[in-house]
Symmetry: C2
Subunit: 132 residues, 2 copies
């Protein structure tokens, strides 16, 4: 089954509180988060039948620069979501759980109680489905 | 030409700084903004050939409740945008200008200098195109 859910991870984000100018040449926090998600996603895929409905895609800027590391979840015909203030250490596993729950939902709306606790308060905004 | 650009306006929003509890029965600020946009949009349509490429659609909650009145711009194959901290008095006309510029763009990205000044700093977040 081809991936229909896109998990876009901003690779130019800096962590909340990071001071631009001091680490311009350091690897961006968003890139570190992206790579951590890719690595963990491969492990998760390896433990199943190798198929997945979530594709992790790097992106440069989700226009949410004040809210630390950011990502979006989207799929045709579903609500799109932007999450912020994320770190690999705290959120990596739960981001993937959230993405899987999103992929399995019919409309992109994962009930509050089914969202992993560490990320459920990190929603920045959502956009209605194109055909909704 | 059918409308392909959707301007979703949250009708359950309250203005930034409004205190929930004191005006639970009042008309929501988002509904007032929505109605003002609809009214102005009809005037604008009446002054042209009656066709438009922007459809204004009410929506309940864009999960951006901390940032005053909110709306989203979306269209098939384009970046989707969420804007916040909007009021009818300050932003009504410029929201419609922005929506028209968005509708005329190929990818949803309206260059910074072409965004009306009153709204250009109000971006909350954006989501990549479904097919991007």
């Amino acid at each position: 089954m081809p991936a229909t859910t896109r998990l876009h991870v901003c690779i130019t984000c800096r962590n909340s509180g990071a001071e631009p100018g001091n680490n311009q040449t350091d690897e961006r926090d968003g890139k570190i988060l992206h790579d951590a998600l890719i690595a963990e996603h491969k492990v998760a895929k390896g433990s199943t039948d190798g198929e997945t409905d979530v594709e992790i895609v790097p992106v440069e800027c989700l226009s949410n620069c004040k809210s630390g590391c950011s990502l979006s979840l989207s799929a045709p015909g579903k609500w799109g979501y932007v999450y912020g203030n994320l770190t690999p250490e705290t959120h990596r596993d739960d981001i993937l759980k959230l993405a899987n729950a999103y992929a399995q939902s019919s409309d992109g709306i994962v009930p509050w109680r089914e969202r992993p606790e560490s990320v459920r308060r990190n929603v920045i905004a959502r956009i209605p489905p194109m055909n909704g």
